[in-house]
Symmetry: C2
């Protein structure tokens, strides 16, 4: 851990100048400021927390608000823990601790957030599970509480956000399936009002339209984001009279249950129906292997943390280049689950 | 939400008497106290928090300390989220919020806990990943901070704990496999110094000894508690010159990777090797189906929360009957993974 003294020695500048540069004072020339910040980042400089806390009354805790509850337990699982790893990597540099704020699915997220804020134990917040319209954004903005969201919303208060490229996933998947001869393609969407469902379904419809195809409303399967949800999607699909030849799975955790549902009916992904989903530590072990999108969740966590800190006065000078809003690209890993090509009609 | 007024009306007793009964004052007769507590539990009475906070200076937050980090992400996943559901069910009755305290695997848990306590933002703590010797217990006991542990340890400060019945799992599994003709049985254990590994391996050895068998040290496979760990166990097993005919998997999350490792070598659980593991939402979808132990994680969470509150002065009267120390039984679900019977030698 590098302190200000060692930083000043390294740069051969006085401690006072280094301090002024780090605190963004105007009486330091731009070139010096840049040198100090670069060296601080390079050497892993962290401010002396005890002094800073006393001066600023901070708690040095950042809360990551996420939904829990039996309905969505699967989702929380596989995704967030790896994101936390990345977030903690950044926070550790500044002696900030990450706590997960677990909002039960039986509770109103807006009430929960109000209580968190009233207790005042976090310096900043990361919000997930952003809704189509999300009152939490305005609540925090009004109180000038720094926050970043993992997910977009039609509500926009100018806060930083990162989000996965749900439109890109829909576009790439539809183009790929249409090229393989598929015409009747199903999609899944989350059962609730989370924003990503709208992005994914809307873009799927647009991508199909570009090929002169339509998204049949009977082929939009609503699903809880867990294994049981995927199993239920398989049952809905099998019950459909004019069965689709392909399906896109928007949630990671539903692939395992979906495979099981198909298997019980004697159907095999990649032979009887094309499946494109999202990779996860669990899906990695599916057979036939899943064609699906992947991302580094750890890197996403790092970017989230940096976007948040870039908006907080005490840390902003460490992250002058942080992306404040970014759609996070995912990469398609080809598996066997969409291997077959349909004969031309 | 029932307040004290409605509770008094329901019981047809004065508010003052109800209040004295709830606060454990001696000037209420035992029968009345019992009636009040029963009605409070039945009607879901919660104390008026704003008053209580001011009087007692409490935060109304309970922290659940757990390990995170890429090495153990699998473990955190599948187990804890469902436990949280149960914990929250209890805390919601008292307007207590649960936060997950995420201790990175790169950080010393003792240092982390010291920081959490210094910040003083939690009224009580739940500790998991208890180590063979765990200095956290003494640290908290010395400071009179209420806590409960999910897991035992050789360190004991008299705190409440709940733990899974790792000895029972080992005993039942060994007896079952020996009855099916197995003599050469492997076990897994976590790669670190977590207490459960010792319990499981020791009891496996004892159970084998009771049948005149020994646990071959070469058949104790150390494994990180995630999918990759399970895959690695399969590789170690396959490399063993005198391959075991059966294996016990102590961690939930390793079953999926273990199956994959076997499958790549053309081996099938229940045909080529007997496998007994632990059920999980993911393992539920394995094929051949896993013979494994299951428990209600939600009920475990409820019991954990009640054991903690039973030691906290503000809540103790709600939980006069809470189990303060309990080994949580698991139930064996028979699957296909240990189906075959070995011919007598």
């Amino acid at each position: 851990m590098t302190g200000i003294r060692r930083l000043a020695q390294h740069l051969d500048i006085s401690i006072g100048t280094v301090s002024r540069a780090l605190n963004g004072r105007p009486d330091v020339n731009e070139e010096t400021r840049k040198r100090v910040l670069e060296a601080a980042a390079e050497l892993g400089y962290v401010p002396n927390q005890s002094g800073r806390s006393l001066r600023q009354g901070t708690t040095n805790i950042i809360g990551f608000m996420m939904q829990t509850g039996s309905e969505i337990t699967g989702q929380g699982d596989t995704f967030f823990m790896s994101v936390f790893d990345g977030v903690q990597t950044v926070f550790a540099r500044h002696h900030l601790d990450l706590v997960a704020l677990l909002c039960s699915s039986e509770e109103d997220p807006d009430d929960y957030l109000r209580r968190v804020v009233a207790r005042g134990f976090a310096d900043g917040l990361i919000l997930s599970a952003t809704q189509r319209y999300d009152p939490r954004f305005e609540f925090l903005a009004k109180r000038k509480i720094p926050f970043v969201t993992l997910g977009r919303s039609l509500t926009d208060v100018g806060q930083p956000w990162l989000d996965l490229d749900f439109e890109g996933m829909a576009q790439v998947s539809i183009d790929r399936l249409v090229a393989k001869g598929h015409r009747r393609i199903a999609v899944t969407r989350p059962h609730d009002d989370i924003n990503l469902g709208y992005l994914f379904v809307d873009q799927s419809a647009k991508a199909l339209a570009a090929h002169g195809l339509t998204l049949d409303p009977d082929l939009i399967f609503s699903s809880k984001p867990n294994e049981a949800g995927g199993y239920h999607v398989a049952q809905q699909l099998l019950a459909n009279k004019d069965r689709p030849t392909a399906i896109l799975l928007v949630n990671e955790t539903i692939a395992i249950g979906f495979y099981r549902g198909l298997s019980e009916a004697g159907l095999k992904p990649g032979r009887d129906i094309a499946v494109i989903g999202r990779q996860s530590p669990q899906a990695h072990f599916l057979s036939p292997s899943l064609t699906g999108f992947t991302l580094s969740r750890r890197d996403l966590g790092i970017a989230l943390a940096e976007a948040l800190l870039a908006t907080m006065p005490a840390f902003r000078h460490f992250y002058p280049e942080a992306a404040l809003r970014k759609i996070w690209q995912e990469h398609l890993v080809e598996g066997e689950s969409d291997a077959f090509i349909l004969p031309p009609r």
